[in-house]
């Protein structure tokens, strides 16, 4: 079907975003309105490139994992030729789920209802007593439905359902440079530790994305407990030093960095020294990227719509273990306007020793996981952002969220001219332009007619 035209309420809210952004205001109702959510599923999740898995999760031919595009299940499977396929998990006969485990290794997917059997590229290869039942029917037209496009970047597998979507490279735009900086830092690349955690929180998916665009300021209040238990080594005020970057439309990130390049303190997101040395000696990136990584205490960013990346020094037990570099990626999978399922992966640079990986995993589990000291506080306010988003009062009172921090005349953040990377950059992280960048692109995608795409570069860049 053609993309549904926006309902009057959605149209109105998108107008309100576009007019409000210049004043740093966003209508709260986009955080709960059910029509907005339905449009997001179709115009955002049904069109954008979304992250599904890392290649190390399906290392061998026949390995598969089941993941989501929007609310729907897709099989991400490495076929017998080693290529990666993203297949809608619905039998072409009657729509039954054909992949019944969350992950595994297989040569075929057999539907339990009538036995239609597909290979790992999604082709229909047979059914019981085929000649009697289906002899003469085209197998070609009855394979599992594939995502329109699949591609990966440093092993990160993305897919889109929109045949008119730009390439992944173009979609990422300037953000690619920053992903390279993190995932290309070590020559051998990264790998997933274990398998992703999954947990459900009663929040809207945009709260996670918004936060990971670079909401550094919340640490001082929401995460104050982590300093009391010594989980994070950089004091709040110091940690506000660094850069906010709108990498390209929709995608934003933030670096914690001391003003002085040689200030003591964590380097390379806190990864151990011998690992950092390998970064310097063997990597896939430019000297500028390497220097930024070296100086960075924290990297946090979000690839629009719902893929977030975090690298920082943490510890689960400050009394016993010094903070160490943790690298986690996560998706905020929508499950209704007021619910998300968080998929949370811990990654390690492949070249790290087993002990280093274990240390990083324990530190990550103790901080950025459903039972971690950081994450459990994060989800708390997001729950009530969703409540306000759903509220009739917000609608009646025209309640708007405030994203004014760092706008001209507000606070101390200032644009940076000589930044070596792509995008629009601010110094000091007292700044919410990173989020405004997300919402501007969001509103454009929400309105974009079928087959058309908003501009993927900033004017003048």
């Amino acid at each position: 079907m053609t993309a549904p035209t926006l309902t009057p309420r959605v149209e109105q809210l998108m107008n309100q975003i576009e007019t409000g952004l210049d004043r740093g205001l966003i209508p709260a109702s986009i955080y709960g309105d059910p029509q907005v959510y339905q449009t997001e599923l179709r115009n955002i999740f049904g069109r954008c490139w979304v992250f599904l898995a890392h290649e190390s999760e399906i290392a061998a031919n026949g390995d598969y994992v089941v993941r989501r595009i929007g609310e729907d299940n897709f099989i991400v499977v490495r076929d017998e030729q080693g290529s990666i396929n993203v297949l809608f998990d619905a039998c072409r006969h009657r729509g039954v789920q054909v992949c019944r485990a969350d992950s595994g290794n297989t040569s075929h997917f057999r539907c339990p209802y009538h036995g239609w059997t597909y290979n790992t590229t999604g082709e229909l290869v047979g059914a019981p007593l085929w000649r009697n039942a289906f002899g003469g029917m085209s197998k070609e037209e009855n394979g599992l439905v594939k995502a329109a496009k699949v591609d990966s970047h440093h092993g990160l597998i993305f897919a889109t359902l929109d045949p008119s979507a730009p390439s992944l490279r173009d979609y990422l735009g300037g953000m690619g440079w920053y992903l390279d900086l993190v995932f290309g830092l070590d020559e051998g690349g990264v790998e997933v530790i274990g398998a992703p955690q999954r947990f459900v929180v009663d929040a809207n998916w945009k709260s996670g994305a918004d936060n990971f665009c670079g909401d550094d300021y919340h640490l001082g209040t929401l995460h104050r407990s982590v300093w009391e238990i010594g989980a994070f080594p950089v004091p709040f005020r110091e940690n506000m030093m660094g850069y906010h970057i709108q990498a390209s439309p929709g995608h934003s990130l933030s670096f914690s960095m001391a003003p002085d390049a040689d200030e003591p303190g964590p380097k390379f997101f806190g990864f151990p020294e011998d690992v950092a040395e390998r970064f310097t000696s063997g990597n896939r990136i430019s000297p500028e990227q390497l220097e930024i990584a070296r100086r960075s205490r924290v990297f946090v960013g979000n690839v629009f719509p719902n893929f977030s990346i975090l690298a920082l020094p943490m510890t689960e037990d400050g009394a016993k273990h010094a903070p160490t570099g943790v690298l986690t990626v996560r998706t905020w999978q929508p499950k209704g306007p007021g619910q998300i399922e968080i998929f949370n992966w811990f990654l390690a640079y492949k070249s790290m020793s087993p002990e280093q990986k274990d240390r990083a995993y324990r530190a990550g589990l103790g901080t950025f996981s459903v039972g971690g000291s950081f994450e459990m506080d994060d989800t708390e306010p997001w729950i009530t952002v969703g409540r306000t988003g759903r509220s009739v009062a917000a609608e009646l009172l025209d309640f708007e969220l405030n994203y004014q921090m760092g706008m001209p005349g507000i606070g101390i953040a200032k644009p940076v001219d000589d930044w070596p990377g792509p995008g629009i950059t601010y110094w000091t992280r007292y700044e919410e332009g990173v989020q405004r960048n997300m919402y501007r692109f969001y509103a454009q995608m929400m309105r974009a007619p079928k087959g058309e795409w908003p501009k993927l570069t900033f004017s003048g860049q």
Partner: protein, 188 residues
Amino acid sequence: MYSKLYAKSAVMENEMRPLSTGSPEHVEVVDFLHLEAELLDDLREREWLSEMVSKDVVYQLPVRETVERARGRGFIPDTYHLNEDYGSLNAKVARNETSFAWAEDPPSRIRHFVTNVRVRRDETDADLLHVRSNVLVYRTRQDQTNPQILSGERADTLRREDGRLRLLRRVVLLDLTVIGTHNLALFF
């Protein structure tokens, strides 16, 4: 990596029948588990940690997947929601003692229903008791009327230290693949 499957835990494979519920060991273990649950439900986490948990504790909640019957119970090896030792448990308790542990302040209301306790002796070490118990955790927050209900088995090892039992190992095997409660700030 998905070809490796989680071996049934040693405790599960133990074909020994549990000790009788009338045995002194069983009685002692139930006393332990009841007191432990009381302290946790009363939010006396500090006392629980210092009085009932061994300094050598291993406390884990592995990640689970849906897999075919032939592949076992679906716990993924070396993959956790929680993987704690005494130090990290202590950090959690300490965090709740600050005034900024927003996730659980106001605290959710938590209750442990402990049933089906089965105690087995260790085959070699007389100081160890292996205990399986079913635990149902009922939890509400704010003005929720629909509780969050978690269920699982706890595969514990208790060790006699200075004459008293302490928790040496707890593996929480939840009957869930996706955690459906707003956080895992609670102790099982």
